[in-house]
């Protein structure tokens, strides 16, 4: 066999192995996610569901809030659940794995370019975010009852936005996971994620901030705003919302930036 043929064969074999490696890495994350499903659900979904109960049931039934609030709430709850699940599912294990124990090392030594390991982590995060969005919708829908004014006319746009939201959460989770240490997790949650959720237009439409003009501009930096507005605009379009195409463009840009940042952070964290 001449050298060219040999090197072609090597390349083919390497690609073959790389694909197998990638699916094995993914299978590993799916196995672990399945094992931890109850904790994950409690960790990321309990809070939004309690919120649904308090605001969708207690407040509306007692007449302190208008019943139309319920339909507005559902897409926002999905946006929060998906974002939190994606971020937590990628960032938390990664922070631990890059720490003292260096658990991630056996995957960094797998015969594949390390960027693909980052891509695999994001793919697993996307899957978990989408599953979480789907799971939280069921009890939320049951808790909220009928009269939600949901629409199924824009399913194509809805799933496009849902995917972009999932990607944003997974890429954000990877960037975060490669940027903070174990000791700073608490700080990140109280300083970044809590305000992000409260000012993410999940519990109210962006239009509701009109009476706070400065705040209304500032929250545009928050990706969760586009997630909530986009899901609301496609799932419950009777409520005020941003145009879905604007949401898609902005989320697409945010996703691109976050994916690039995540890959760069992962690379610099993985190799000293």
């Amino acid at each position: 066999m001449n050298i060219t043929a040999a090197s072609q064969l090597t390349t083919q074999l390497n690609q073959h192995v790389a694909w197998k490696t990638f699916s094995a890495l993914f299978a590993r994350d799916v196995r672990v996610a399945r094992r931890n499903i109850v904790t994950t659900i409690l960790q990321t979904m309990l809070q939004p569901l309690l919120f649904v109960f308090v605001f969708g049931q207690v407040m509306t039934r007692s007449g302190m809030m208008n019943a139309s609030y319920k339909g507005m709430l559902l897409p926002g709850i999905m946006a929060i659940s998906m974002t939190m699940t994606g971020v937590m599912a990628v960032a938390m294990p990664l922070i631990a794995e890059f720490q003292f124990t260096k658990e991630i090392e056996d995957r960094l030594l797998a015969p594949i370019r390390i960027e693909w390991i980052a891509v695999e982590k994001m793919l697993a995060g996307i899957l978990q975010a989408l599953v979480s969005g789907a799971i939280v919708a069921i009890p939320a829908r049951l808790l909220l009852g009928s009269d939600l004014h949901l629409s199924t006319e824009h399913l194509g746009l809805f799933f496009t936005i849902a995917f972009l939201v999932a990607l944003f959460s997974a890429a954000g989770g990877l960037t975060l996971g490669c940027s903070v240490g174990q000791t700073q997790i608490g700080l990140v949650f109280s300083l970044v994620l809590a305000p992000m959720v409260m000012f993410g237009c999940a519990y109210y439409p962006w239009k509701a901030l009109e009476s706070f003009p400065i705040l209304q501009k500032v929250v545009l930096l928050n990706p969760l705003v586009y997630a909530s507005e986009g899901l609301r605009g496609t799932l419950a379009p009777v409520y005020p919302h941003m145009p879905p195409m604007v949401v898609i463009v902005v989320l697409g840009a945010i996703d691109t930036v976050l994916v690039v940042a995540a890959l760069a952070r992962f690379r610099s964290k993985a190799v000293s």
């Binding site: 090197s7 490696t21 590993r28 931890n36 294990p93 003292f100 260096k102």
Partner: protein
């Protein structure tokens, strides 16, 4: 095929905090800190021009104290630490032929050399790594760790089941195979780490201080596994600060200190290179120049060195010299307070080259 290792002038300067394993004696004597005035960057020279050649099928030892640069060298050779400069290649003999890998697939072992940093994927296919600290995947059971590791390397399902069972048996882990590894003892974790590294049948095995924290029984087991691997033609690079281990296992040893290779050879050659072989570490109440001169004149003494702690005498015998030493001391009205005699060993060699004990 056999795969060797070659490095040329490897240098590594850390500009951020080095990884824990490479940190060694916490930025001890092996590192020099230079803080630039304008930019507060770290400059830790961990490797300062390391050139090594490890032949295919050889057991090669890197011996040195904490912070000498051993883990950094292993890190560079295993794609985990990017060298600042220099070359690190795997050298495969039998260029161009097709061989079966652990997965039972044909892999072209290619044209002779694989630059570890140019072609990381191919390099990673050929190596197995046991890190200094157990880095097991805590989210998985022992069996899953082996199975997934096999899957990462593309080994077909049936083969990896069989191989995992064999390794679990060989490493006496079968009874705990389906437990999560978080509760494992240090020895069990280390055994599983070695089993995992062997799962894909690597051509080169890196063991970074493998016996640290192991009980003597597990250590002997590890040694016999290393010998067994080596008998199958695998190249093994082992780092240690345990003289006995280097002496026992290695065909050749490089002694490293401050990021440089300070001596290289077979354990026997290295030991023979120490003047006299025996070292008598002496402490006197006073050491006048006359005493040093008298000690040098004693029969069998090859070298006398004044150190911070006392006086080191290199000689061809140990206890037999004590009488003469006491005599010399008395003649100079000094008292001999303490004597420590070491037989010929790599430890003495290290002491000879660096003036420091390995354990310091």
């Amino acid at each position: 095929m056999g795969v060797g290792i070659r490095t040329r002038d490897l240098r590594k300067v850390y500009t951020t905090a080095p990884p824990i394993a490479a940190r060694g004696a916490a930025f001890g004597a092996g590192f020099s800190f230079k803080k630039k005035k304008d930019a507060k960057t770290l400059n830790v020279v961990a490797l300062d021009g390391v050139s090594l050649e490890v032949a295919p099928g050889e057991v090669f030892g890197l011996l040195g104290p904490n912070g000498a640069g051993k883990s950094t060298t292993v890190g560079i050779l295993t794609t985990r630490v990017r060298p600042t400069s220099g070359e690190a290649v795997l050298v495969a003999n039998g260029a161009g032929e097709l061989v079966a890998n652990g997965a039972g697939e044909l892999v072209a072992n290619g044209a002779g050399e694989i630059d570890i940093w140019q072609d990381q994927v191919r390099a990673k296919q050929l190596i197995g790594v046991v890190q200094q600290r157990p880095n097991l995947d805590f989210a998985l059971t022992a069996r899953e760790i082996l199975l997934f590791h096999g899957a990462y390397f593309g080994i077909p399902s049936a083969d990896r089941q069989r191989r995992a069972n064999e390794l679990l048996e060989q490493f006496q882990l079968t009874s705990r195979a389906d437990d999560l590894t978080r509760g494992f003892s240090g020895g069990m974790m280390q055994r599983l780490s070695v089993a995992r590294a062997l799962m894909h049948d690597p051509q080169v095995l890196f063991l970074d201080e493998p016996s640290t924290g192991l009980d003597p029984q597990t250590r002997l087991m590890l040694w016999s596994i290393v010998r067994e691997c080596n008998a199958k033609g695998k190249t093994i690079l082992i780092t240690t600060h345990n003289m006995e281990e280097a002496d026992e296992l290695c065909d050749r040893v490089a002694i490293v200190d401050h990021g440089k290779v300070i001596a290289l050879g077979t354990p026997a050659e290295l030991k023979a290179s120490i003047p006299g072989g025996y070292v008598l570490q002496l402490r006197f109440s006073a050491t006048p120049a006359e005493l040093i001169e008298r000690l040098k004149q004693l029969p069998g003494v090859t070298e006398v060195r004044a150190t911070a702690a006392g006086t080191d005498v290199y000689a061809d015998r140990g206890g037999g010299l004590i009488g003469d030493i006491v005599g010399a001391a008395t003649a100079c009205s000094a008292d001999l307070h303490d004597v420590h005699i070491s037989e010929p060993s790599l430890e003495n060699l290290f002491l000879h080259h660096t003036g420091r004990s390995l354990r310091q």
